[in-house]
């Protein structure tokens, strides 16, 4: 089972590593991020899609962006196209 991005999942008292965190993202018309958590995006290093489990009732459709912010910080953010929200995630 896949927990929707941004919700806590526990198995007993175990918890998942690299759970997505909600992010504040302003996007360009083409869907690529323009500002992440109020910082301007200076470079999109890589972009990829993850489409999975489309045959189940919990499909996953994410558009990932590896970005460099104005302060030089690296971040990986994705738009969950199932729920229409942005998240950041480590270990992507």
């Amino acid at each position: 089972m896949v927990t929707p991005a941004g919700t806590e999942s526990t198995t007993g008292s175990a918890r998942r590593l690299n759970q997505p965190q909600r992010a504040l993202v302003e996007a360009h018309v083409d869907g690529s991020p323009r500002r992440v958590d109020r910082s301007a995006v200076t470079l999109v290093r890589e972009e990829w899609r993850v489409v999975d489990r489309w045959w189940t009732e919990e499909p996953v459709s994410r558009r990932y962006f590896d970005v460099v912010l104005a302060g030089g910080e690296h971040m990986v953010v994705f738009r969950d196209e199932e729920v229409g929200r942005w998240f950041s995630q480590r270990g992507s």
Binding site: V2, L17, N18, Q21, D37, L69, G71, G72, E73, H74
Partner: protein, 396 residues
């Protein structure tokens, strides 16, 4: 009889971050939340307060209230440096200071009262030593918490002395925000109609402890004036630091780890160390965007072994939020002794496992059940990063 004084500089981190940008001091500005933390504002400027912005406000709410609000990135290294300079100026004035946190320090006045001709002249001298532009204020009382409360009530540049017999009376009308209580506990008290220190102090201690636990019992004790524990001045820190400046910003973990190794080797070779092991270190970096980053590491066993130091400090490099242009390693505390008793036989097998269990038990005792976890890979092939591994608590 001794008197404890507390020096307080409100919003110290913001003031330190604005030293480089003094123009912002007259504008609505606030310290931005740390990356990867809850989006709550830090200290704010006086102009921002006039515009209705309060420290601890949610970022979205603050920007809606004051759209011209300027967010200032935290600069912990600059704050640490500025605070160290202030503490040294106080020490140069003959005051044995116990720095509690950046922007807050305690000292006993008995030693300097004779030097400066009385309590108030000594406190005025301490204010002068802090220097202009910090808006410091001083509270003095027989008890540490009463002195801190007085300093929080005092205006900029003011010295407020509370006599022991008037301590309870002085504390009584003050708000609960002065107490080191979690927001939830403070709200719980407010729901019970308790909003002032005097109202809390009037409750039975046992009932407060039962309702709010040890933190509540401690807060109750503070509301009654707190303990009259003496203040011990710090031992002046040795200037033992090494810096490496990079020709261009470095974000590569391998390069950073190698740089850390070079800094460690240089530090361990410094003659001022006198063969003593390192107990507490600080790793700081100047970031490419102009901000800074700093982490302190206290070693359970003081050591001068490069491999152990590299292991303890190397993991901190993963927290760096951006590429760095300079990396600094500083020794904050050196061990007192030169040598340590080594084991004749290296532990192994069951003995080593027993050591590990004991270490984990100590961590759990300090941080609570569920704090020691094992990473269990469950689907390392998954395309979804959060599906690959679980953190499973170890309570064995």
């Amino acid at each position: 009889m001794f008197v404890i004084a507390s020096i307080v500089i409100p919003g110290f981190e913001l003031r330190a971050a604005l030293r480089e940008r003094p123009r912002l001091q007259a504008e609505p500005a606030a310290l931005a939340p740390e990356p990867a933390t809850e989006a709550l504002l830090g200290p704010v400027t006086a102009t921002a307060e006039v515009a209705g912005i309060r420290p601890g406000m949610r970022l979205g709410e603050a920007l809606a209230t004051c759209p011209s609000l300027q967010l200032v990135d935290p600069d912990p290294a600059a704050a640490e440096e500025a605070w160290e300079q202030i503490v040294r100026r106080l020490e140069d004035a003959g005051i044995a200071v116990d720095p509690a946190a950046p922007g807050c320090a305690y000292f006993e006045t008995r030693g300097v009262e004779r030097l400066y001709g009385g309590l108030e002249p000594a406190l005025r001298r301490a204010l002068k030593a802090v220097g202009p532009g910090w808006d410091a204020r001083i509270g003095a009382a027989r008890r540490r918490f009463a002195a801190l409360a007085a300093a929080n009530v005092a205006r900029s540049g003011q010295v407020l002395i509370v006599s022991d017999e008037h301590t309870r009376e002085f504390l009584s009308p003050l708000p609960l925000t002065l107490l080191p209580l979690a927001a939830g506990q403070r709200e719980e008290l407010q729901e019970l109609g308790i909003t002032k220190l005097g109202e809390l102090a009037g409750l039975p201690g046992g009932a407060v402890a039962e309702r709010l636990g040890p933190d509540g019992r401690r807060a109750w004790g503070l509301a009654r004036g707190g303990s009259s524990r003496r203040v011990r001045g710090r031992k002046p820190a040795a200037e033992l630091l090494e810096t490496l400046e990079f020709p261009e910003a470095v974000g590569n973990e391998l390069t950073l780890r190698r740089s850390l190794g070079v800094l460690l080797d240089r530090l361990l070779a410094r003659p001022e160390r006198g063969g003593r092991a390192l107990r507490k270190l600080a790793l700081a970096a100047r970031l490419v965007g102009g901000g800074s980053w700093r982490r302190t590491v206290t070693l359970r066993d003081a050591t001068a072994e490069p491999a152990r130091l590299r292991a303890a400090l190397g993991s901190k490099l993963l927290d760096l939020p951006a590429p760095v242009v300079a990396l600094t390693l500083e020794v904050l505390i050196l061990a007192e002794s030169v040598g340590s008793q080594l084991e004749l036989v290296q532990p192994e097998g069951a003995e080593l496992r027993a050591h590990l269990r004991e270490g984990l038990r100590q961590v759990r005792a300090g941080t609570g059940s569920g704090s020691v976890c094992t990473v269990v890979e469950v689907a390392p092939w998954s395309r979804l990063p959060e599906q690959r591994a679980l953190l499973v608590p170890r309570d064995d």
